[in-house]
């Protein structure tokens, strides 16, 4: 008779796999991608493709020739890093800079730590911050949204709504006088504003987020605590003085907050493991985002806020354990 396989229990396994999770995330990014292609045209498509291809290329090169280990570029994680990196840079960014950003994201932030699952910081955010520090001019020129543009040069750029408000307030202007200079809330929600490639449409990103929640790719704790704490902190300041501090709704729909809360902060690898850990982490992200946006040097604080909280994750993991069974004896 033929030999039997012997292995420890259990003998059945979930259908879920790493690549299914990763491709699920990619699928959920489609609405945001479509909106950005609509408003930023060909330039956005080129930036996205360049980032994805270079991330795959660098991961391949490093795995094959530097580590000389198995090549796992099609597990989907490098594609996500590429797509997310593209989503948080301006559509007008020269493509060679996108390539450098990809190299930093994959090479420095991911592979040096040992590849998938080992990195401390979110690779795409590290790539963006590197570009922001290295190429401050190009990284601060945000093209104005048009419709299905194929233009690649002489793109008209302007400040993002967040920058308009921040600079205006710094020069002593009142928030109520500044608001006519930024798009209406409906436009902000739909994504009709200046900003990075994929971060502009809060609605499209929310759709993707809801898909990920339904598919159980992410859980509610981090997005809810992140967005909730932004509303609370920004709301408190706004209540103190609405002429100096813009209302919390504005914070929610502008900049990279939605993308950050649903895609960057929820990155499994770099976020905490327990429910309470996730909530604390989300609140920390929200707090730091508002502190940087309002009191920091940059108009936008999502990238730094998440990276700083990434650094706290090991500490959060050892401080916030899951609720153990039989720890509190409840008799009733």
């Amino acid at each position: 008779m033929n030999l039997l396989t012997v292995s420890g229990s259990p003998h059945v396994y979930t259908e879920q796999s790493v690549s299914k999770i990763m491709y699920g995330v990619l699928l959920s990014l489609i609405p945001a991608a479509l909106v950005s292609f609509y408003f930023f045209g060909l330039a956005a498509i080129l930036v996205t493709l360049t980032a994805i291809v270079s991330c795959l290329f660098f991961e391949f090169i490093i795995q094959k020739y530097l580590i000389k280990g198995p090549v796992t570029i099609f597990d989907g994680s490098a594609i996500i890093t590429g797509a997310l990196l593209a989503f948080i840079v301006p559509a007008s960014l020269p493509l060679w800079m996108v390539v450098i950003g990809s190299l930093v994201a994959i090479g420095m932030a991911k592979m040096t730590f040992g590849g998938l699952g080992k990195n401390i910081f979110n690779p795409a955010l590290v790539g963006r911050v590197f570009l922001m520090i290295s190429f401050p001019v190009e990284m601060n020129m945000y093209p104005k949204p048009t419709t299905l543009s194929t233009q690649l040069t002489d793109i008209i750029s302007g400040p993002t709504p967040l920058a308009v408000v921040k600079e205006g307030v710094a020069q002593g202007e009142k928030v109520s006088d500044l608001m006519p200079q930024v798009p209406e809330y409906v436009d902000l929600l739909m994504g009709n504003m200046g900003g990075s490639v994929g971060e502009i449409s809060a609605i499209a990103i929310l759709l993707g987020g809801i898909y990920m929640l339904i598919k159980k790719i992410i859980t509610w704790e981090i997005p809810a605590s992140y967005l909730g704490s932004v509303v609370i902190f920004a709301g408190a300041l706004w209540l103190i003085n609405p002429e100096v501090y813009v209302d919390p709704m504005f914070h929610l729909v502008t900049g990279g907050l939605m993308l950050g809360a649903l895609y960057m902060a929820t990155d499994m690898v770099t976020s905490p493991m327990s429910r309470w850990g996730m909530i604390i982490y989300g609140i920390g992200c929200g707090f730091l985002t508002i502190v940087i946006r309002i009191f920091g040097a940059y108009p936008e604080g999502v990238a730094f806020a998440i990276l700083i909280m990434n650094a706290f994750v090991p500490l959060i993991n050892s401080g916030f354990k899951p609720q153990r069974f039989g720890e509190e004896v409840k008799n009733g």
């Binding site: 012997v6 003998h11 059945v12 699952g117 080992k118 499994m268 069974f325 409840k330």
Partner: protein
């Protein structure tokens, strides 16, 4: 509907044999009865090669406090007392009997009449259950009489009857509840009398509505017993999870259910208790599910202990050609066996076959720290962390992270998208931590 709170998974149920009535399997030519089929000290053989035995006759005596008597399951001649490979894959001593006829020991009531009146005193009940070699039929095979003796200073309030059968595929408890419900209910009353408790709750997952309905109808003549339908969630059949689900009490870490006033017994055990006390019949047969996607006739058999597993497979339509794995028990906690000539023992609830393509694990990838294992752990542990700590031989840290609380339900390995061998590493860690703890206590 009630269920336990912390964690849990939903593996596909695949109860293929749930509509197959219990069939009595033909007597095998020989039986091999291991002298250790229970948790605790092996029993000592009291027969020798060449002896003639009757079915139901004592052949090995459990002499330690935690041990159990072993009885002949068939009548015939003792062929040898020798090591055989049992379903755990280890060589263990067994008494091999060649079947001759089907003659039963005197004093055993072989009729199918239901005897409701309980004449024995609580002490006599415990003695009888001990004599008849009854052990937990859910799989852990802990000697039942020990559980019915409440330690001094503790008080039992509830008898919890485990009819959850949360393991996918298995249906032996389900069929027993449908076909032997009255016997089981009398068995529960016997256990209530022994424990001196007023209340017994039968927990049944609501994927068995027919069993819930059937028992409910019978309940009026069995005061003190109630049935509670439970939301399907694995591992609800774990006794700590079941107690939490039914009476909302948490057994403290490292303690037994009696700490919160509960004693948990399986429905199969309740039936065995009935037979031992009312019929004077020792535990020599049990219901075994034979199932699997490629099995021709997924079945439930009433099988004599010691019957080779191969005989059950034959009766269920033969061993399918491309069988890759044979599991003793359910898919979540069962043990893969090496040899289908291994015998059925008191703890064998099912034989599950997997086709070759379903016999291997998923390829292993890096941990992506998705936290699924931590969020589904029914004991609130962090399997990813315990696995890494155990792998790095950091056993003190394992203990501090409460590795000994792990009930080895397998949910973490089931859910892991990276296919990591979490439970394997945790088992190694538990083993080492157990050694350290024993050394400390000496």
């Amino acid at each position: 509907m009630k269920t336990f709170k912390l964690g849990g998974v939903h593996p596909p149920e695949n109860k293929l044999s749930q509509n197959a009535p219990i069939e009595v399997l033909a007597l095998p030519e020989t039986v091999a009865i291991p002298i250790s089929q229970h948790l605790g000290v092996p029993a000592n053989p009291v027969v020798k090669k060449g002896d003639t035995v009757k079915a139901g006759q004592l052949i090995a005596k459990g002499e330690a406090f935690i041990s159990a008597n072993i009885h002949a399951s068939v009548s015939g001649t003792v062929q040898k007392i020798d090591d055989i490979v049992d379903s755990s894959g280890y060589r263990k001593k067994a008494i091999v009997i060649k079947t001759e006829g089907d003659v039963w020991e005197e004093g055993i009531d072989m009729s199918t009449d239901l005897i409701k009146e309980i004449t024995l005193t609580p002490e006599e009940i415990v003695t009888r259950i001990n004599e008849k070699g009854i052990v937990g039929m859910g799989g852990a095979t802990f000697p039942s009489h020990v559980k019915l003796m409440v330690p001094q200073g503790k008080k039992a309030e509830y008898l919890i009857i485990n009819g959850v059968e949360c393991e996918p595929y298995l249906t032996s408890d389900h069929r027993l509840m449908l076909e032997k419900a009255e016997e089981m209910l009398v068995g529960i009353q016997i256990q209530m009398k022994a424990l001196k408790v007023e209340k017994a709750i039968i927990g049944i997952e609501n994927n068995k509505p027919d069993a819930i309905e059937h028992i409910r109808k019978l309940l009026p003549s069995y005061p003190g017993i109630s049935v509670e339908p439970l939301k399907v969630k694995y591992p609800q059949g774990g006794e700590k999870q079941l107690i939490k689900a039914l009476v909302n009490r948490e057994v403290p870490s490292g303690k037994l259910p009696i700490e919160v006033g509960c004693v948990v017994h399986n429905v199969g055990t309740a039936f065995a208790v009935y037979e031992a006390v009312q019929k004077n019949k020792p535990l020599v047969e049990r219901v075994v599910t034979v199932t699997g996607k490629a099995v021709k006739q997924p079945s439930n058999f009433m099988v004599r202990i010691g019957t080779p597993i191969a005989a059950l497979l034959e009766a269920a339509g033969g061993l399918p050609e491309n069988t890759g794995k044979v599991v003793n028990g359910g898919p979540m906690m069962g043990k893969a066996i090496t040899d289908i000539s291994a015998p059925v023992t008191k703890g064998t609830s099912g034989i599950l076959l997997f086709e070759k393509q379903a016999s291997s694990r998923k390829p292993v990838h890096n941990c992506i720290r998705c936290a699924r294992c931590a969020s589904i752990c029914a004991m609130g542990l962090e399997p990813y962390l315990l696995a890494v700590l155990a792998d790095n031989k950091r056993y003190e840290d394992c203990e501090a992270e409460r590795i000994m609380d792990c009930i080895e339900c397998g949910s973490c390995l089931y859910i892991c998208p990276s296919g990591r061998p979490l439970l394997d590493q945790i088992r190694v860690g538990k083993n080492q931590v157990g050694k350290i703890m024993r050394a400390r206590n000496q």
